[in-house]
Assembly symmetry: none
Homo-oligomer: 195 residues x 4
DNA sequence: AATGAATGAGATTTCATTCAT
DNA sequence: CATGAATGAAATCTCATTCAT
């Protein structure tokens, strides 16, 4: 029996549903999650706000769907990046993309108050780490290297650093940034070239 | 002394005022800035919510005061840490303190949508960076070292990494953390001992 | 029909909406515009105050709708009055009607601090003046008269005087009123009869 | 015994008291009576708002004092104007002064909701009317004229018209105004010159 | 598949006023 | 004389959500 859907909802495949998710995503990107309300999403989508409750059980559900879709896309992109000839540099480039990174950060913050989101983003972060670590290990093996830094640590470091560069830039703080960028670039180049 | 401050009501030195700032700080630490409303702060402080407007004119003012007080304390503590015999390890220990770091992170996020906060935390971050970079440079000189990594970059890296360790831990993500901790510890030890 | 009005919620045709407009109008007539708050309107209508924001988005919108409805009715009545055999006397009778005149005066005052209302009542006053001036001119022509006083001035004078009679009466001041009424009556009679 | 002062208040002659009345008057002139609150008056005066309650029993008392002072000054000015060689033209000039007229209008509106103000402004209006009517009668007698329009009516008409010219101008409505101005000017000139 | 109607809860903010000092 | 402290009341407005149609 399990837990049956307590409410009849709009079909998963509806075009309208997608429009709502799009609108919510845009809003999060532009103004942060705190700016997302049923009314504002609907307004952006050019629809009535009640539609949100028709398609989603609650605003949280909508958030979750926005996140899930974005996370899937990001994992996809990351997978492709890691498959390139210079996986570390590709990883860095993608991690430095302000768009995606700010988006993910927004959910990290939201997680504080949304149990459901916390689980989802936790799972996502873990998968991302594993994905990256595996690729880094694979790459090292290909080149016949025994890296001093464990793959998972490398993954963590690159994520941390790109995230912070972005976070600080948004605050207008940039002291030390150039030096770090230079360090990272040369390190990654060496690694990708097997030296 | 002539015309008083046009709007400021409660005295700076009031005990009540301090109680309110305490309550707000606690709330931010426990539930994040988004949970702070005049009503909730007052409730926590066991007071009427209007008192907040009596003492602060606006919620933003309260936020700012909470931040400023915490920032000052942190700078103070950091200054002391950097004055120790092993400044880098002390820096790291303080930066890894969940209390302070989560607190600062909360404001970094808040800054996205609060102009006033952005300026304040930007200024704070810059001061912190300069403070640390100067101490790191000083320490290197004392030991007669020429570090490969510029001081400001070292400061940035340590901040980024501690911040991310904390952020991810809150999400239940810890893969790669131990390895990073180990790396950092050994690196800092070497640096502090001049090797 | 595609994207609905981004914010408008309640339908234009709702009965509830009309009840709210009625209540607001009554309140303005009885106690003046300054007495109109969402709570009081709702109370008078026997409804929850949030309904006002459901139907009107803002109190100003409600004010505007009350005004517009009243203005339209007044213009209608004025048009009919001016079509009578004795247009000037009919104009005066209508302008002396305390109900309408006090109502309009209330908005004139409100206009001082409400940009939106200012525009609306400005437009209305202009239309009213033009309507009256045209009728007065027409009437003069019909009677083959060449009036010493320009039609627009006549319209202005009658409006001013009726307005002030009312305003002063409300203050309990009536000295000179009877004499003015007598003057106006005889003047209008002459004009209407073509002497 | 009568009704003794229920509260000890600041002296009538205090300079501080006058500063507060000044500030309130300025505020009414600039932003209308609805903008007058204890806080704003005090702010404008560069004082603490509690002082208002120290010097006046309530805000209404302050309003009343502002009005009384302004009314007395206006009566004074009017008396002087009426003593001139061309009393009617002087009367008109003073009545057309936007400053004073808007100020008085503001109180006429306030009267709707303030019993005390209503009585005060009623009494003032009556005195003003009597003053003007007497002067007009005197002037007619001096010139040996028997005016068709009773003096009180003349006073009423001039007040009404000047008031309305101002009220409409504020709304951006001016149609018919020039013609009226011209009429009034020529009529008053004739009267003043005894033709 | 969609939407008009409604509402309880709560947000920030402002006020007039009192009182003790 | 003057002012810090406090508060009850009310203002406008927004939200998430439900329900009947």
């Amino acid at each position: 029996m399990g837990a049956p859907n307590p409410k009849k909802l709009g079909a998963e495949s509806s075009a309208t549903r997608a429009v709502l998710v799009d609108a919510a995503e845009q809003l999060i990107r532009e103004e942060g999650y705190a700016a997302v309300t049923a009314r504002r999403v609907a307004q952006k989508a050019g629809m009535k706000f009640q539609l949100i409750y028709y398609y989603f059980n609650s605003l949280d559900d909508l958030f979750l769907e926005v996140f899930q879709r974005g996370a899937d896309q990001h994992l996809e992109r990351m997978t492709q990046a890691l498959a390139s000839d210079e996986p570390l540099q590709a990883l860095w480039a993608l991690s430095s993309e302000p768009n995606d990174t700010r988006f993910i950060l927004e959910f990290m913050v939201m997680a504080n108050h949304h149990e459901v989101i916390r689980k989802a983003i936790g799972a996502f972060a873990e998968r991302l780490r594993d994905l990256q670590a595996a690729a880094i290990a694979r790459h090292a093996e290909t080149l016949g290297l025994k890296p001093k830094i464990p793959p998972a640590a490398t993954s963590f470091l690159l994520s941390s650093i790109s995230r912070s560069l972005l976070l600080e830039s948004a605050l207008g703080v940039t002291s030390g940034h150039q030096e770090v960028q230079a360090l990272i670039h040369s390190a990654l180049k060496s690694l990708d070239e097997g030296r």
